[in-house]
Amino acid sequence: MNRYLGQRVGFTLLGGLTFIVVAPILLVVGVIVVNGLGALSWEFLTAMPREGMKAGGIFPAIVGTLLLTLGTALVAIPLGIGGAIYLAEYARETWFTRAIRLAIINLAGIPSVVYGLFGLGMFVLFSQFGTSIVAGSLTLALMTLPIIISASEEALRAVPTEFRTVNASLGGTHWQGIRQVVLPQALPGIITGVILGLLRAAGETAPILFTVAAFYLPRLPQSPFDQTMALPYHLYVISTQVPGMPLQIQYGTALVLLTLALALNLCATLIRSYFRKRRQW
């Protein structure tokens, strides 16, 4: 019987350790929600910052983050899905394909601040986009690419081979099969991957530090080659660079950013579980 007592103690211990892992997650979310709610108002979300950001709203930062995410999506989605289609439907298992996979694994592992350096070197200076939404979006897109490729490839591979065989037996070409049979089946998985990738891009600060971000710019960007404020960078600025910043505004900004991230996360989870239940194969 002693063995089972030991097992009970062991299981309780593992449960306790798991609790240590998840409890702080709830704590972080809870603290930011409770302290941030007081700052939220229509004005906070839709007004320009005033008095050196100590009053007014965070509208330009919200718009900036949405624009950057949109720019990232425009570049990363076609490249990401194209790359995934190549790996799942075209590539044979050669050394070259292995090299591509290795490249993707390494892209995923490059530190975000190094992406920032690269963006500065290639997009801001070499391509002469200047510190702009374009330069930042391209930098973020490259960082997002491996996430979208891996998730989409996985979704494509999950579609059973029979779908492709039937397409071929009905006289469909390779691309027709991909476009009309495989892609629609894999779409929920691809969308989930895209959302998770964009979520990462929307929340990152380091890659936009030297490529887009404006410290204090109380107007909306005028063109894609304009600088812009962005939520993550704004939170960094007001919590470290501005002395005497009201804590409530900091919490409010953190809450808006957190809400954006969690909402995207929730979307991805819902899409995944909804289609997993409905899937017929």
Binding site: G109, V114, L120, H174, G203, T205, L257
Partner: protein, 296 residues
């Protein structure tokens, strides 16, 4: 088949191939532009200065050793904290927890992966740092340890999910055999399942380390950013400064093309190379997982 379909088919295949090949090009491009901006450092800073122990850019002292050791200290401490927690959580979620608990725990850990690092850094500054200062009775809460604590939690989602995949891949027959021999579930887990999954758990550590060493914002906000050599035992509880934080904090203030600017790019090259090898070490296991079809 009409001529038109034939041509569009050819065109689309070509486009997709080019996109597929371009991923290698991207890694090359990144390395090229880092080199282009960082290479002049070779002619500007003598090696014994560059690998020296003093980082005082205003006095032309560009010793990266305190930054390198700072990064290593914070990363290792984070992994030491995260590894037992991560493996325990993976085992609990995969082997022990009832279905309903799993349905709650897994999305919750995904939430952690989705919290932007600057938000965690903000939390670390405003609440964690004062907490560390008071509980450990240290002069400031902005220490290497505070950074390691945050980093541990940021690495946890990676460690848990990779370790869980590894446990998942252990054949059911192993478990059945152990249980049939009269082992308890506890004994089966620790003497059969976890040892069988150890290569996957090693991958989890590697990827978690890669994540931790490259993390920037949270570390920048909570480690206090003092570039000192961690030579004494209490260094973990004193301010420290990592390579990533140095780049993020100083790049905005340096003149383009100055020596300091080139040195920051050189640190970027070092980070690129470090994470490249960490991921290279983890890559075979990731390939293996894909071949088994164990991707989730």
């Amino acid at each position: 088949m009409s001529q038109r379909t034939h041509w569009s088919e050819f065109f689309i295949s070509a486009v997709i191939r080019v996109i597929g090949f371009s991923t290698i090009g991207f890694v090359g491009l990144i390395f090229f532009f880092l080199l282009q901006q960082g290479a002049p450092v070779l002619g500007e800073v003598p090696l014994n200065n560059f690998f020296g122990a003093q980082w005082y850019p205003t006095y032309n002292l560009y010793g990266i050793l305190p930054l390198l050791l700072g990064s290593m200290m914070v990363t290792l401490a984070a992994i030491v904290l995260a590894l037992p927690l991560g493996v325990a959580t993976a085992v609990f979620v995969r082997e022990i927890a009832p279905g309903w608990a799993r349905e709650i725990l897994k999305p919750l850990i995904e939430v952690l992966a989705g919290i932007p690092s600057v938000v965690l850094g903000f939390f670390g500054m405003t609440l964690l740092a004062p907490f560390v200062r008071e509980t450990l009775h240290v002069p400031t809460g902005l220490t290497a340890f505070t950074g390691a604590l945050l980093l541990a939690y940021m690495a946890l989602p990676t460690i848990v999910s990779v370790a869980e995949d590894a446990l998942d891949a252990v054949p059911k027959s192993y478990r059945d055999a152990a249980l049939a021999m009269g082992a308890t579930q506890w004994q089966t887990i620790w003497r059969v399942v976890v040892p069988a999954a150890r290569s996957g758990i090693l991958t989890a550590i590697m990827l978690g380390m890669g994540r931790a060493i490259g993390e920037t914002m949270a570390v920048l906000m909570v480690t206090g950013n003092a570039a000192r050599m961690p030579t004494t035992l209490n260094s973990l509880f004193l301010p420290a400064r990592t390579m990533t934080a140095t780049i993020a904090a100083e790049m905005g203030e340096v003149a383009q093309g100055s020596t300091h600017y080139h040195v920051l790019f050189a640190i970027g090259i070092l980070l690129f190379v470090l994470t490249f090898f960490i991921n290279l070490a983890a890559a075979p296991a990731i390939f293996e997982k894909r071949r088994r079809g164990g991707l989730r």
